[in-house]
């Protein structure tokens, strides 16, 4: 499968309270993803708390990932930073450490103009030889890409893909068609936003950048394959089983939910970086129930670990 197509699984990055990455725990998470057959790993995405980690720790995380699963599954690395020169350095680090592709979010503090984002992307895309995906995530970056800007960026060498928020099912086909008409044929239009992404694949998106895929890869691989095969009944069945997780994602933000879920599954004791707080015990019970439903309904039993106490 071409890079930026299929299921890109976005794991959290286990780290201690001081922001030191736990390379062993990260490697174990990545093994699960590779074993489940995800199409790529989205390392240091928003779920991978890239924004909260130093350049040195981000480099360590990439090196750990490449040494653990490099060659088995492509590794796409988030290189977003507030400063253009910092993002260029992060891109060079990713290439030097063996990444297969880059994901660049226009992280902002001062709100950015389209021209500022365009030049930022040109500068970062020019810093390495790696293919780059536009990370359009307005809820965290506070910058929303127009189709016009995506089309302009799609003509820049090495900018070959976009990760857009998945539109609702009702809008997906029209929105995808509109953007498809503006970009070169090989440009990969993919989606994030787990609860709408399978519908977007049914409507023609070629990639799903998935938070849940970084935690429960097996059902997300199954959902991706069903959507790629246009098997609407199977997509609906799997989507219904995952619905309690989507509801928790919408309520708490997917990041807090996947940390709690990873704790419950015994995958890591890591907590989100402060100021982000772990969810409270009542919510963790809801997550336990949602995980039970997801793993009973979709997993081959041997693949998912038992829930930890």
């Amino acid at each position: 499968m071409p890079l930026f197509h299929g299921l890109s699984a976005f794991p959290l990055t286990p780290a201690d309270p001081g922001g030191r990455v736990d390379a062993g725990a990260l490697g174990a998470l990545l093994d699960r993803l590779a074993d489940a057959g995800v199409d790529s790993i989205g390392l240091l995405g928003s779920t991978g708390v890239y924004a909260y980690l130093t350049r040195a720790e981000r480099r360590r995380a990439i090196e750990a990932a490449v040494s653990r699963v490099g060659g088995r599954v492509p590794i796409i690395v988030g290189v977003g930073a507030l400063r253009t020169d910092d993002a260029q350095d992060l891109a060079r680090d990713a290439q030097a450490a063996g990444a297969d592709g880059l994901l660049l979010a226009p992280v902002s503090y001062t709100p950015l103009t389209d021209e500022e984002v365009f030049r930022h992307f040109v500068a970062v895309a020019g810093a390495t030889e790696l293919p780059l995906c536009i990370y359009n995530n307005p809820s965290t970056t506070h910058f929303a890409f127009s189709d016009e800007l995506i089309a302009r960026l799609a003509s820049v060498p090495r900018i070959v893909a976009v990760k857009n928020p998945a539109p609702s099912s009702a809008e997906a086909a029209a929105k995808l068609q509109a953007l498809r008409g503006r970009v070169p044929p090989g440009f990969a239009i993919g989606c994030s936003g787990d609860w709408n992404a399978p519908g977007a694949i049914l409507a023609g998106a070629v990639g799903w950048y998935s938070v849940l895929g970084g935690l429960l890869p097996q059902p997300c691989v199954a959902l991706t394959r069903a959507a790629q095969a246009k098997d609407q009944a199977e997509v609906r069945r799997l989507d219904a089983i995952l619905e309690p997780l989507w509801a928790l994602f919408k309520q708490h933000g997917s990041l807090r939910v996947v940390y709690a879920a990873a704790n419950l599954l015994g995958l890591t004791d890591a907590q989100p970086p402060r100021p982000l707080l772990p969810l409270d015990p009542a919510e963790r019970e809801r997550i336990r129930d949602a995980l039970d439903r997801a793993t009973e309904g979709t997993a081959r039993p041997a693949e998912e670990p038992a829930l930890a106490d």
Copy 2:
């Protein structure tokens, strides 16, 4: 005047393209502010591009400021950071370097909950002995404080002030009264948003956190004194003279405008950190005209430098 009252002037932080602070140019900017009689300096605010500078450069900026104007005018230092531990370190650095107060913005990437922001502020306020002002700036931090959360924070030791976006004139009195009723008597309610702030002072706000005050301190001191004296006619007169600058602030963001204006005034050649771009020549001409109007209409001629070519 008590800290966090009156005019707090927010200068830009001159730095080279790599983010190295120009301590000499910063000192010269601060001298102008102290000479004009501002009530405090808001160092490393949003206009001071704190979010784009390393911890080491932020420390250097504070040391330069304290050595240049410390003792003449109180220095309030922005210590915002995405991570709680980083913000605590920045607060400790500010205290060690001789700052008089702290300004803390809830910088976010993952959207924050009220509880997360509350605990973040408690942790940072507890890291030093300095008084702390809540920096409520939703357009950059993407977190909006409710009056309820401000009231909760106002009971925390050392959290003694808030910098709120100035409401429109029509709403200012009611909004200020509502918040005033929830916080202790000594808690300082001040405003940012230059075009509405003088009206907010007329309506009872005790402080103006001013971007223009960091560039053209003289008219902003005059405007502050007029508003403090409830001289509505003089406030209207000065406000009308500054109106073309307010219009430019609204159109381009005040940060880009003050960089261009500082270049035109010959105060510094520094540019905003990339990805932020300098304004184009046509807009710089509009800024030149607005500065001419502001300096001719409000300044004692000897105080403002001639415009550079």
